[in-house]
Structure formats: structure tokens, C-alpha cells
């Protein structure tokens, strides 16, 4: 199980990376954390003729907040994001979801940009991006462009990013202050790809749901934002009955595949179960405002 030969490029700047990609086209593959790509290469399932390694590109590992939007460099390691006080305070849903990405050894190398660009249909980060309506910046031969999460994920392992483009930055709107959140997932073992996973945020105003976001993973070719369920929740008063109806809406919005780990029916069923549980947990957290802020104080 050894990779086929390839040309190795380790550019220092995004421009250099784009230049190599422009020259090599479909033959080249961008290497970020490598935690998904290298196994595929070791098995010779992927045989790129050229590798463009972003690990020595400067400036892709910045993490900050601009006007209520988290800006995350494509090469920020998942482990760094998981430990980030900023993410814990402003987007605890992302922090919680990151805890489900593989194992610490994987997250030490794996990057947020890599996970998004790889677009595994059962990955956690794309579902969070979709739920929270984030966007990414990509740079290619024609310059930079922005792709909204809703337009980004096309199908299995396929995004709207062109083979000649490099994902450079991820932007995720911070969760509203006081919003509750929950990430719920069923995997065969700790750290495995999700059989189904649900991320929820819930903001309350005067006892009613002011804003609800639901993103799912593992239940189709690409991450799903459960828009119908979100509409049903928005403006309504929280109740078990409402959660049940949201779960039904989620189940109606997905087309899961079956595989040897779980049937399509199971995934659909569990997506609903997890939606209910996530809504319950998010409500508890929303009802106790300042949870995220408190957490931040203890971390920093």
C-alpha cells in the first residue's frame, strides 16, 4: 500500500500554488492536512501526477473575527480551531463538531479548508458551514471569488471549486449571542464518519424561536441544510411536538444512501431522532444565556 509517484510542489505563496495548478490542471491535487487524501494515495485510489502542498504557504493559518464573522484560514488545523477560545466563544457549534472529526492525531494535521474542499458526504465541518450559512474564498488564475456554502457542495467529494483554484479562507457568521447549540452524531465508533450527524443552533426571543439553523451530514451526497424544518421552527414556541414536526421535516428533506454500516432507512430515522435531541439540548443552552461566554472566560 504505497502511493504512485508524483511531482511534489511546495509553494510559499498562494500565487505560486495557483500558478502550479494552472499549469498542471486536472493532473494536480492540492494537499492540505492530507488525512483523507494520503490514505487514498496510499491505496492508489487517487493517483495525482502532481501534488501542490499548501503546508508551507504563508498566511493561511490565521483565525480571527471581523464584524461578527469568523475568518478562518484554510490551513488552520482542526485541533487549533478546537482549542480556540474565539471559536469556543463565538461558534461553539463548530467547536463541538470538531470534537467528532477523527481523532486528535488526525485533527493535529487535518485542516478546516481541507475538510471542506474534500467534501466527504459524512464529514462534520461542511455541515456546520452549511447550517450557519458560511462562505469560502477561493483563488485561481482569474483571481479570487467567494462561494456561498449553499452553492459549494455539489455531490460526493465534489465542490464548486475548480481544479485550478485554491481554497484560502472560510467565513462563518458567529452564532447570535445567547443562541443555544447542539451537535449530535451517531458513528459506528468514536471518530468514525457519521452514520448521521445534526448540528443545530437556536436563538430565542420572548419565549419564541427567533432563529433556527439545522445542518446534517451523512444523509446524502452532500451536507444538507434543513430549510423546511428551520422555517417551521422560526417564530414558534418550543415544544416536544414542535421538535417532532421538525424531525419529520428533516426526514422528508433528505435522501440518504445505505451502505454496509447502516441502511438508508436507519439514517433517515436517526436523522430525525438526533434532530429532536439536538433541539432539546440547544433549547437548554439557549435558555441559559451566557453559557458560551462563561466558557470563554474559563478558557482564556
Amino acid at each position: 500500500m504505497k502511493p504512485a509517484a508524483f511531482e511534489y510542489h511546495a509553494p510559499r505563496t498562494v500565487e505560486e500554488a495557483v500558478a502550479v495548478l494552472a499549469a498542471r490542471g486536472d493532473d494536480a491535487k492540492v494537499l492540505a492536512g492530507g488525512q483523507s487524501l494520503v490514505p487514498l494515495m496510499n491505496m492508489r485510489l487517487a493517483r495525482p501526477r502532481a501534488i501542490v502542498d499548501l503546508n508551507r504557504v504563508r498566511g493561511l493559518d490565521r483565525l480571527g473575527e471581523t464584524r461578527g464573522v469568523l475568518t478562518i484560514g484554510a490551513m488552520v488545523r482542526q485541533r487549533a480551531a478546537e482549542r480556540s477560545a474565539l471559536i469556543a466563544a463565538r461558534c461553539p457549534l463548530l467547536r463541538d463538531a470538531l470534537g467528532w472529526v477523527g481523532h486528535p492525531q488526525i485533527r493535529n494535521r487535518g485542516t478546516l479548508g481541507g475538510s471542506i474542499a474534500h467534501a466527504d458526504p459524512a464529514a462534520e465541518i461542511p455541515a456546520v458551514l452549511v447550517a450557519l450559512g458560511g462562505e469560502v474564498t477561493v483563488r485561481g488564475p482569474k483571481g479570487a471569488r467567494t462561494i456561498r456554502a449553499a452553492d459549494l457542495f455539489v455531490t460526493y467529494l465534489t465542490t464548486a471549486i475548480d481544479a485550478r483554484e485554491v481554497l484560502t479562507e472560510i467565513r462563518i457568521p458567529a452564532m447570535p449571542r445567547g443562541a443555544g447549540w447542539s451537535w449530535m452524531e451517531i458513528a459506528r465508533r468514536h471518530g468514525d464518519f457519521a452514520l448521521a450527524g445534526v448540528g443545530v443552533t437556536l436563538a430565542l426571543r420572548r419565549g419564541a424561536i427567533a432563529d433556527a439553523r439545522i445542518g446534517l451530514t451523512g444523509v446524502g451526497p452532500a451536507p444538507v441544510r434543513a430549510a423546511a424544518a428551520e422555517r417551521l421552527l422560526t417564530g414558534a414556541a418550543p415544544s416536544e411536538d414542535l421538535w417532532q414536526r421538525a424531525a419529520d421535516a428533516v426526514r422528508g428533506a433528505i435522501e440518504p444512501d445505505g451502505d454496509l454500516h447502516a441502511s438508508a432507512d436507519y439514517r433517515r430515522h436517526v436523522a430525525g431522532v438526533l434532530t429532536i435531541r439536538a433541539l432539546r439540548e440547544a433549547l437548554v443552552r439557549a435558555a441559559a444565556p451566557g453559557t458560551a461566554g462563561r466558557r470563554r472566560r474559563t478558557v482564556t
Partner: protein, 777 residues
């Protein structure tokens, strides 16, 4: 013999090396000029090879050779048939490289050798094979059906053996029984998957005519003997070393895997050392697997739940070849009776070829199947007759005064199945106590009131261990005072370097860390069979003890001359020989060894040779039978089908315990494999017999986060069949796990009417079972 170390919790001798990265596993062998091999494997489960063109591959950079079947000359023939059986009408083994037909995905077609493994894999890409696909058969029942496409075209069907054993009058038993219950019980395929895959290194010294092999095998001596025969060398000119072996669990005791011939063949042809290391994907298709059986079983009981008779008719999946004969199904059918009295028993199986990887024993080797059937039937009796499940078992147990107990069957070693000793009732009661069985109904009610689904499972088993034919050991006291022990039985993590050291240490009055044990190196000890069937401690352990005892007697004799006292007055302790009651009259044991090897003058005739050294063999006429009980409490989330373990206990009796720490480790690991095989691990094949789970992403070994802590207690009922009174324990952990987990799930989900009849499960399947049960109730 003053016992000090037998039964002690000695930290292991082998650990400092392994902890500091100084172990020597096969892949760690580095020799100057080492070349690397890679095997081209069939992607088809069944196909005729129309053409294998290796010309392009041979010309690739760094490639030294590419071999096909035609290149193997005299070695192009079926590999040895290991264990014949009169009932086996078709004994089929594969070739080192398939000559014409491949019969499972992963069967070896060509072997490339290059400067690096990378280049060798590049060469595989350049081999052009034209396959003519043939119909493949995957499902066991379909393969057994008349008219099924045949795995071996020279056979009239895929059934390679039918074998029946009977005890008592089964028809009469069923005819007069007031209650009869039938079940169809299924276990699917799994694999041992040690973290170290297989691997072979061969170095040929053409001038000396010497072949050195490092092989991750559980049976280095038979490998050496076979290689010598195949390559026309003296056994003495072939040395096979099983160095540190990174787990075995059964599949590494195959004589031969193709690579065990291909690697030395290439090394001799190229006159260059060659290494082949199986990668994980290869492991999932090229290393033997196990476990698939379908039992149609029926039990007849009286009104009190006492067993009158059991009948099981089952199918056993042999895979594409059956080098190991009928061992697994015979072990399954002879393990089924377990600790219970069966006045009548009928077991009948068909062994069936399928286009899947060959089957040979994997830890348990049929025992989990037998126990699953027996215990599921008893659970059915308990439920139908309204008898407490522990009580049903109690009523049927063989009592403590019934030993030796003849079951009336022939065991895998072709000897009568005769239990030597056991503690069946005591083990059960102790396990019930540890799991708080008496309190369970109340606790379960309380949990149910909270809407929680928790269940308890308990199951009993008897484990056949310690079978012959023989093992041997050489024990030598060196002038340094250290003791060298050599035995043919290799170790794959079982701690032989410590357990055997304890036995020698007790006999010779030295500390166990001064006993250096070498296993699995035919250059150091050349007689033996291998590590399998939970036999090392019993068979090799007794050989070590006997040899050490002989050395002790010799040391007494030699020391007697020096210390001027009768040999009977000489004691050995603390690394010295001394006169009983006069510790001052002593001499270090190393000096006794030195004196036993004189440079000049006459040697006393009664020494019977020089040195403090002896070789002894232990050849038990039959196996010895350990027993135990597992119990667990689990909680099920019926909405998601996920499990949480509250408690897992094992009470185990394998006779005298040599090292409780090592023994507990064996139990822990066995339970983990059992649980893995019950809920996480499954080898899935599609209808065309394509293996779908050939990575660790799809074949799921449980992790630390998935498994519960396991509480272990030991009872010690010595075996009367060997001087140490020991029995084996290697498979104890794994045997009853599917049965116990199934019962616990039934118990937890009783309000939903769930009954588990097939393993392994997973969350999706469990939710399906729950849904089906709800629908039908």
C-alpha cells in the same frame, strides 16, 4: 519443588524491549541489499486466467523479477493439505500462484520483486491479466444448494464433507419430550486482524546452502520442515524465526500461505534477500478468515427444563480452499454440549466451499458457535417454560463429582471428548454474585420506570485446550548463572518469556528475570508444532517444567560432589546450590554449571553428559478442558440502536494459574474480540463474492472508547492430566460473548419482544430487529 513464582503476578520479561522500540518484528528486519516483494491479487472472486503478461512489468525501473505460476517449476502445485479427515471427500488447497483459475478475490496471481516496495507495486500496475469471469457464489446457503455454481469444477457440488456425530437415542428423546423448541441461528464472517499483518523475509546464502527465514507465523517449525522438503534442503539448513509476532489469534498458523514459498523462492532465484509485508488491504483478502455458520437447532426438554436431547444441523463456510480440513466445524459441534448433561445429541454438518477467502481457525475456532447455539436454546427454554435462566442452567450442569466426564463425542484431536475436571456450578454462582443477579429484576424495573432499556446476559462454556501431539523444551543453566530456555512454541504476545521463565525459575531457584526464554526460532529448538488451540501453557509449559526439573536434579548431582553432601540434601534457591539447613555451604548455580562442563579429567558417568542442560517433551494423550461463565449488563438506546455497557464479568477456571496478570490480559483481549465480532466487526461480501470491507474504515475493530472494563475472577480446579495441573486460556475470553450479548439484548428489549438469532449486529440492524419485533407483536 518450592513454589514461589507459579501463580505470581510477575511483570513481563519481554516488555522493556517492546516498550523502547527494540522489538524485532518481521518488517523490522533490515539486511543489506534487501529487495521487496508485492503480490498481484485477483480482483475477481472466480475467474479463469486467460493471459498473464508480465513483460512490461519486468522492464520497469527498479524491478528485479516478476513471477507467475509457470515460473515456479516444481513448486507449481497445490500447497500442503494440513489436517486430513476421513469425512473430507474433497481436500483442496491453493497454489502459491494461481495457475489457471482464481477462486476468491485476493488470490495470488503474480509476484513482483523490486528495489523498493514502491517500485514493486508500480510493477503490479504494469502486469496485464486477462480474466474470464466465472460465476461466483458468496452466500453459504446458496453455495450448498443443488445446482449452485461450483467453486471447484471437478467436484459434483460445493459440499466437501458431511459429518455426523451422535450420542444416545435422539429420536426417542425428541419423541417423548413434552417440549421441543427450534431456532435458526446464524453467525457471520469475521477476521482476527492482528495489528501486525503477515510478513516474510528470506535470505539465501548460496555458498553455505543456508536459507534463513523470518516469518510472522505461529508455527515456525512446520514451516521450516515444509520449506526444507519443497526446496530439497536439509531441515538443518533452513532456519525459520518467528521473531516478535504482532498478534496471531489463529490465522498465522497456516502451513503454507503462498508468500511463505514465494519469498524464499525469489530470494534463492535472485540470490538476494527479499522481504514481503502484507498490507492491510491484502490482509482482508489473503489471510484466512472464519466464523460463518448457519445452525438449524432444536432442543427437547422435560417439564422442568431438563435437557433430553439437542439436534443441530448446520452449514459451515469453508471459503475457497480448506487446508485446515474440518477442525472448525468439529470444534463447533463438540463445544456445543458445554457444561451441560446431554443424554442425546445429534450434530451434523456440511462443509461448503464458497468463492471467499479460505477459512481456518480464528480464536474460538467454532467454540463461539457451539456456545451460541446451546445458550440460545436454553434461553428459549427458560422463556417458554417460565423458568429463571440461571436456574435452567443450574438444573442441567454436570456436577462437580462427575469427572472425568465422557461426553460421548470425538474431539478435534481425534481423541474421545472427555472432560478432565471442572467447576461448572461454582463458576456460575460466582458470576451471578459478581453481576448481582439476585438484585437484577428490581434494578431493571427501576430503569424501565425511567424509560431505560437495560438487560443482563449470562452464559457458560467449556473450552477444549491443551491438545497434543507434543511440545518440547531445552533448559540450560549457563555459567553466568542465567538460565536459557528454548521451546518451539512461538509467542504472539501471550507472555511465554515470562510464564515459562516462572516455571523454570521455580525449579531452579533463580529469579524469573534471570531466565531467558527463546521461542519460535528453529535454530534454537527444532521440534514442535505451533501455538494454537490454547495449548502453549499446558503442553510447552509442562515440557519446560519437566526439563527444568531434570536440570535441577543434575545440578543437585554436580553440586553434591562440590559441597560434599548427598544430592538429596542439596537445595537450589536464590541462584545458588546449598546444603539443606546449612546455607553457608553454598555455591552459585553458575559455578555448578561451570563445574558440570569440565575441561580436563574424567567426567562422572552418573552425570550422563556435560552441562546443566536437559531436553524434555510433554505429549498429552488428550486435551484438558477449562470452563467459565461470562455475564454482562448492557443498556440499549432503542431509538438509535447504540449500546452502553454497565458491567462485564468473567469467572474462569483454567486449573493452576501460572501468572494471573498474563491470564487476565488474555481474557480481556478475548472479550474485546468477542464484543468486536458481536457488534462492530463483519466481513461483508456482495452477491458476486466481492469483499466490501477491506479497510479499517469498514472492518471496525473496537476502540478503547467502545469497550467496557472487564472484571475477572479465577477459580482453580487443577487438571489431573499434567504435572503442573494447568489448562489453556487463550480462547476463553471470546467464546461465550455472542451468546451472552444476545441474551442481554433480549432481556433489555423484552418489552418490545426482541429475540436475537443472528450475529454480528450493528446499530442499524438492531433498530431493524426492534422495528420488526414491534411490527409483529
Amino acid at each position: 519443588m518450592s513454589t514461589r513464582y507459579l501463580g505470581a503476578r510477575i511483570a513481563r520479561n519481554e516488555d522493556p524491549r517492546l516498550l523502547t522500540g527494540r522489538g524485532l518484528f518481521v518488517d523490522d528486519v533490515q539486511i543489506h541489499g534487501l529487495a521487496h516483494g508485492a503480490v498481484l491479487r485477483s480482483p475477481h472472486a472466480h475467474a479463469r486466467l486467460r493471459r498473464v503478461d508480465v513483460r512490461r512489468a519486468r522492464q520497469a525501473p527498479g524491478v528485479l523479477a516478476v513471477y507467475t505460476a509457470a515460473d515456479l517449476g516444481a513448486l507449481n502445485g497445490p500447497l500442503p493439505k494440513l489436517i486430513p479427515h476421513p469425512a473430507l471427500v474433497h481436500h483442496k488447497t491453493q497454489y502459491a500462484l494461481a495457475p489457471q483459475v482464481v477462486r476468491h478475490a485476493g488470490e495470488a496471481v503474480a509476484f513482483a520483486v523490486a528495489d523498493s516496495r514502491y517500485a514493486a507495486e508500480d510493477a503490479l500496475d504494469l502486469i496485464d491479466v486477462e480474466y474470464e469471469p466465472l460465476p461466483a457464489v458468496a452466500a453459504l446457503e446458496a453455495a450448498a444448494a443443488p445446482g449452485a455454481s461450483r467453486v471447484h469444477e471437478d467436484m459434483p457440488s460445493n459440499v466437501c464433507a458431511r459429518y455426523t456425530q451422535r450420542v444416545g437415542d435422539i429420536e426417542a428423546a425428541f419423541a417423548r419430550a413434552p417440549h421441543r423448541f427450534a431456532e435458526r441461528l446464524v453467525l457471520d464472517r469475521g477476521t482476527a486482524s492482528p495489528i501486525e499483518t503477515r510478513g516474510v523475509v528470506a535470505a539465501w546464502d548460496a555458498r553455505a546452502g543456508r536459507l534463513d527465514i523470518w516469518d510472522s507465523t505461529q508455527a515456525p517449525i512446520p514451516i521450516r520442515n515444509g520449506l526444507a522438503r519443497m526446496f530439497g534442503l536439509l531441515q538443518e539448513s533452513v532456519r525459520v524465526v518467528a521473531p516478535d509476532v504482532g498478534g496471531g489469534f489463529g490465522p498465522k498458523v497456516m502451513m503454507f500461505y503462498p508468500e511463505e514459498i514465494l519469498v524464499p523462492f525469489a530470494a534463492m532465484r535472485l540470490n538476494r534477500p527479499v522481504k514481503w509485508i502484507e498490507d492491510r488491504r491484502e490482509h482482508f483478502v489473503a489471510t484466512n478468515q472464519e466464523r460463518e455458520q448457519i445452525h438449524d437447532a432444536e432442543i427437547a426438554v422435560d417439564a422442568d427444563g431438563r435437557i433430553l436431547g439437542i439436534r443441530t444441523v448446520f452449514l459451515y463456510d469453508a471459503g475457497a480452499y480448506n487446508p485446515y480440513g474440518l477442525i472448525v466445524p468439529i470444534v463447533a459441534s463438540t463445544t456445543l454440549p458445554g457444561p451441560y448433561r446431554l443424554p442425546a445429541y445429534h450434530c451434523e454438518f456440511q462443509a461448503v466451499f464458497t468463492n471467499k477467502t479460505s477459512v481456518s481457525p480464528y480464536r474460538g475456532a467454532g467454540r463461539p458457535h457451539g456456545v451460541f447455539v446451546m445458550e440460545r436454546l436454553l434461553d428459549r427454554v427458560a422463556r417458554e417454560l417460565g423458568i429463571d435462566r440461571a436456574e435452567v442452567r443450574r438444573r442441567n450442569l454436570i456436577p462437580a463429582d462427575a469427572f472425568p466426564y465422557d461426553v460421548g463425542l470425538i474431539y478435534q484431536d481425534q481423541a474421545p471428548l472427555r472432560y478432565d475436571s471442572g467447576s461448572y456450578a461454582a463458576c456460575l454462582e460466582r458470576a451471578l454474585e459478581m453481576i448481582d443477579y439476585a438484585d437484577w429484576p428490581a434494578r431493571q424495573r427501576a430503569l424501565r420506570a425511567e424509560g431505560r432499556y437495560a438487560g443482563l446476559g449470562v452464559g457458560c462454556y467449556v473450552e477444549g485446550t491443551g491438545i497434543g501431539p507434543y511440545e518440547g523444551a531445552r533448559v540450560t543453566v549457563e555459567p553466568s548463572g542465567r538460565v536459557a530456555v528454548a521451546t518451539g512454541v512461538g509467542t504472539q504476545g501471550q507472555g511465554h518469556a515470562t510464564s515459562f521463565a516462572q516455571l523454570a525459575a521455580d525449579a531452579l531457584g533463580v529469579a524469573p528475570q534471570h531466565v531467558i526464554v527463546h521461542t519460535g526460532d528453529t535454530g534454537l529448538f527444532g521440534w514442535g508444532t505451533g501455538t494454537f488451540a490454547s495449548r502453549a501453557a499446558t503442553v510447552a509449559g509442562n515440557a519446560v517444567a519437566l526439563a527444568a526439573k531434570a536440570v535441577r536434579e543434575k545440578a543437585q548431582l554436580v553440586a553434591a560432589g562440590i559441597l560434599e553432601a548427598p544430592p538429596g540434601e542439596i537445595e537450589l534457591a536464590n541462584g545458588a546450590a546449598f546444603v539443606r539447613g546449612v546455607p553457608a555451604r553454598s555455591i552459585p548455580l553458575g559455578e555448578v554449571a561451570l563445574a558440570a562442563n569440565p575441561l580436563r579429567f574424567a567426567m562422572p558417568a552418573e552425570w550422563d553428559g556435560p552441562g546443566l542442560e536437559a531436553i524434555r517433551y510433554f505429549a498429552p494423550p488428550q486435551g484438558t478442558f477449562a470452563n467459565g461463565v461470562h455475564a454482562c449488563i448492557i443498556e440499549v438506546d432503542p431509538e438509535t440502536g447504540t449500546l452502553r455497557f454497565h458491567k462485564y464479568v468473567v469467572v474462569h477456571d483454567c486449573g493452576r494459574v501460572i501468572n494471573p496478570t498474563v491470564l487476565e490480559g488474555q481474557i480481556h483481549g478475548g472479550v474485546a474480540q468477542g464484543l468486536g465480532g458481536a457488534f462492530w466487526e463483519q466481513l461483508v461480501y456482495d452477491e458476486q463474492a466481492q469483499p466490501l470491507s477491506t479497510t479499517f474504515m469498514d472492518y471496525l475493530l473496537p476502540t478503547a472508547a467502545d469497550l467496557p472494563p472487564i472484571e475477572v475472577d479465577h477459580l482453580e480446579t487443577p487438571s489431573p492430566l499434567n504435572p503442573l495441573g494447568v489448562k489453556g486460556a487463550g480462547e476463553a475470553g471470546v467464546i461465550p460473548v455472542p451468546a451472552v450479548l444476545a441474551q442481554a439484548l433480549d432481556d433489555a428489549l423484552a418489552p418490545l419482544g426482541v429475540r436475537i438469532t443472528a450475529m454480528p449486529l450493528n446499530p442499524s440492524r438492531l433498530v431493524q430487529v426492534i422495528t420488526d419485533a414491534r411490527r409483529s407483536s
